[in-house]
Amino acid sequence: MTPTPLLTVEHLTMRFGGLLAVDDVSFNAMNQQITAIIGPNGAGKTTVFNCLTGFYKPTVGRLLLTAADGKAHLLERMDGFRIAQHAHVARTFQNIRLFPRMSVLENLLVAQHNKLMRASGYTALGLFGVPTYKHAEAHAVDLARYWLERIGIVNRADDNAGTLPYGDQRRLEIARAMCTEPVLLCLDEPAAGLNNRESAELNELLLYIRDHHRIGVLLIEHDMTVVMKISDHVVVLDHGRRISDGTPVEVRNDPAVIRAYLGEEEDEALPAEVARDLGVPTERGGELH
């Protein structure tokens, strides 16, 4: 199966009063690919996400999601929870939003709510413990167990999610999103606050999701090592506008991107760490104008 456009964003514009947070942004995200949205702080990355997942209604624009089976949804017309329910777009949050006082396993079962509600006859049948519901619940637990094994915290399944270490919470949130069985997974800074080892584990998990579950992944990321290593496609935003779009190699050599990250006035060489992250040799820093 070759990658097909999964998400087509056309002329997305989001205006908050006088502030133009996202200005006429268009890009595609492919099926079975990892698409990264990067940009300096305040570039409008999270706003794009919030439009995609229904937390904001875009001022202008079309968000077309075409699943692999051919079903199409216009996300800008759907309510927040319906995007997850019907269009199967799942997301995680910049600041982790687990259900801290529920167990890890329960977190993963809540993600399968709609499926289980149907199986429980919208509670009426489940109240009397009909076998079809028991079966569906067992199946849901199996799916949860599968993801817990994947992120390596099966032994913590019955502990409250709030008691997990930070890195595990990050991965549990991704596992929870995957339990909704999405066609598009949107991750808002999944590597924020992770150390190098955890970051490497995260890369592995994302590549596994892309290759074995064959879904599209859209991620916002500040950590350039993550972006450059695993993305198939990078979209760069600055001040709400798309300033570059292409493969990681193309993007990191794009003068517009370097300008956006480092400013217009460029008399000094790039700071070493920034240059390393962007993959630009330091001695060429001055020639970029």
Binding site: A84, L98, M102, H113, T123
Partner: protein, 490 residues
């Protein structure tokens, strides 16, 4: 005087602190305790009670002094002395070796001594185990876990006792009345627990649904001749639809804002009941509400010809308490039904969605949960149980008026849920016993029972703000499920 080496704070400091406390106590107690108005013939006379005032201030001064010595490292001897005093007091209370005047102050002496002893004991424990504030929580949590486990094991015995209660030798009219009152509030607490404990929607107007249920039954039975069991589902359904009516406008509100709106809703229902005289008979209320019959048989001493009364059916002499027994069984059945329902629904997807909504509504939306429907179901189901309980209230009292459904009722039901520990079923039972059974049983102590009630609430807020038995077990455990043979994939 040789100072004990262990004292961790200068003596003068301690005395000064206690003296300030004593002075504040004096300033407060002078008008409250020192003077008393007595109704004599036609005039009201001011009398003084200076010995009592002196005793009360001395008690507070001593209590404070002992607590300060505890904190300064003398916990053990003080615990031994005050503990011994409390035990002796209890022995005396039963055996009456020494008769004492001043009932209230006498009781307060005991209370002070016991509080000091408990405080000293807690301090000793904390020092021994180097328990921190967190350690205190761990201790409370451990107790809560133990009680919850125990409740599951001895639950059947409690239920069996509840069923057998009317046959007990001490089951007089008063005991049965307290039992019925406690069970009514247990049921209301369990119902409100769905809304507050599980869904996390702070509802201060719960009594509105109780009122809807009560008036539904009263009007249906008096106007249309429905019997109790026919009216019950209708009353529950009406209350549930009022729950949805309240739910719709408040969907976007959370926390304090939600609490205020629900409070207003409760008052609105009461005011409608008060003013819609054509339907509800206004402030005069509705009387002569039909009492429940025992499978069609009335509880009357002399039934009309052709109808068998209950005592004739069982071949016993007529006694008014038979009806109380029957009412008791009705509310027991309703309460058990509520418990069964909430325990089951907690383990269903809707129950987990309620809890998830309480934890994080935004995350719920991102997972495709419809927050509107989920919240409305919680409101509707909680209201339905209040409606059932309201119907029972109407048939038990035989008379209802808007007076019975004021804000205080809502506050007490909420207090039961919060005190018990939100979401805890057994906690609601314990709290209902403390808050309803206690004041009812100690009715002789008159106004002081409300004082004790207040002290209890303050104590809970200080020592265990999450509620007595707040503890949550996962609704299902992975460790209790067999490993799957195959790995599911997409």
């Amino acid at each position: 005087m040789p100072m004990p080496k262990r004292l961790e704070r200068p003596m003068a400091d301690i005395l000064k602190d206690a003296a300030i406390t004593g002075f504040i106590a004096f300033a407060l107690a002078l008008p409250l305790v020192g003077f008393q108005t007595v109704d004599q013939a036609s005039a009201i006379v001011l009398q003084t009670r200076f010995p009592q005032l002196f005793y009360a201030v001395a008690l507070i001064f001593t209590g404070r002094l002992l607590l300060l010595f505890c904190n300064a490292g003398l916990a053990r001897p003080i615990m031994l002395v005050t503990g011994a005093f409390s035990v002796l007091w209890l022995v005396n209370a039963f055996a009456n070796f020494v008769t004492v005047n001043w009932q209230t102050l006498n009781f307060l002496t005991f209370a002070t001594s016991t509080v000091v002893a408990l405080r000293a004991w807690v301090l000793m424990r904390r020092r021994a185990a180097a328990l921190t504030e967190r350690g205190k929580d761990v201790m409370g949590e451990r107790i809560a876990v133990a009680v919850n486990r125990l409740a599951r094991r001895i639950g059947p015995f409690i239920a069996a006792f509840a069923v057998a209660l009317p046959f007990m030798p001490f089951a007089d009219q008063r005991t049965m009345d307290i039992g019925i009152a406690v069970l009514t509030y247990v049921m209301l607490g369990w119902g409100l627990n769905v809304v507050v404990g599980l869904a996390g929607l702070l509802d201060l107007g719960y009594v509105a649904f109780y009122a809807v249920g009560a008036y539904s039954y009263a009007l249906l039975s008096k106007g249309l001749g429905f019997n109790f069991w026919e009216a019950l589902p209708i009353a529950g359904g009406l209350a549930a639809s009022f729950g949805i009516m309240l739910g719709f406008p408040v969907l976007r509100l959370r926390g304090d804002y939600l609490a205020i709106v629900t409070l207003g809703f409760g008052e609105m229902i009461r005011l409608v009941l008060l003013n819609w005289s054509a339907l509800t008979n206004g402030a005069r209320g509705i009387g002569d509400i039909p009492r429940p019959s025992f499978f069609g048989m009335p509880f009357t001493p002399a039934p009309p010809p052709g109808i068998t009364a209950v005592h004739q059916f069982f071949g016993v002499d007529f006694a008014p308490i038979h009806r109380v027994y029957w009412l008791y069984y009705i509310i027991l059945l309703l309460a058990v039904l509520t418990n069964w329902f909430t325990l089951r629904i907690r383990r269903l997807p809707i129950g987990r969605a309620w809890e998830a909504l309480r934890e994080d509504e935004i995350a719920c939306r991102a997972l495709g949960i419809n927050p509107t429907n989920t919240k409305l179901t919680a409101f509707a189901i909680g209201a339905m149980f209040a409606g059932f309980a309201g119907s029972f209230f109407a048939t038990r009292q035989g008379f209802i008026s808007p007076e019975s459904f004021n804000f205080l009722e809502s506050a007490i039901i909420l207090a039961i849920v919060v005190l018990g520990g939100m979401g805890s079923q057994i906690g609601v039972v314990v709290a209902a016993f403390l808050l309803i059974g206690g004041p009812e049983y100690f009715r002789d102590l008159q106004a002081y029972r409300m004082l004790a009630f207040g002290a209890l609430m303050v104590g809970i807020m200080v020592w265990r703000p999450q509620g007595l038995l707040a503890h949550r077990d996962p609704t299902l455990r992975l460790s209790k499920r067999p490993a799957p043979d195959g790995v599911p994939g997409r």
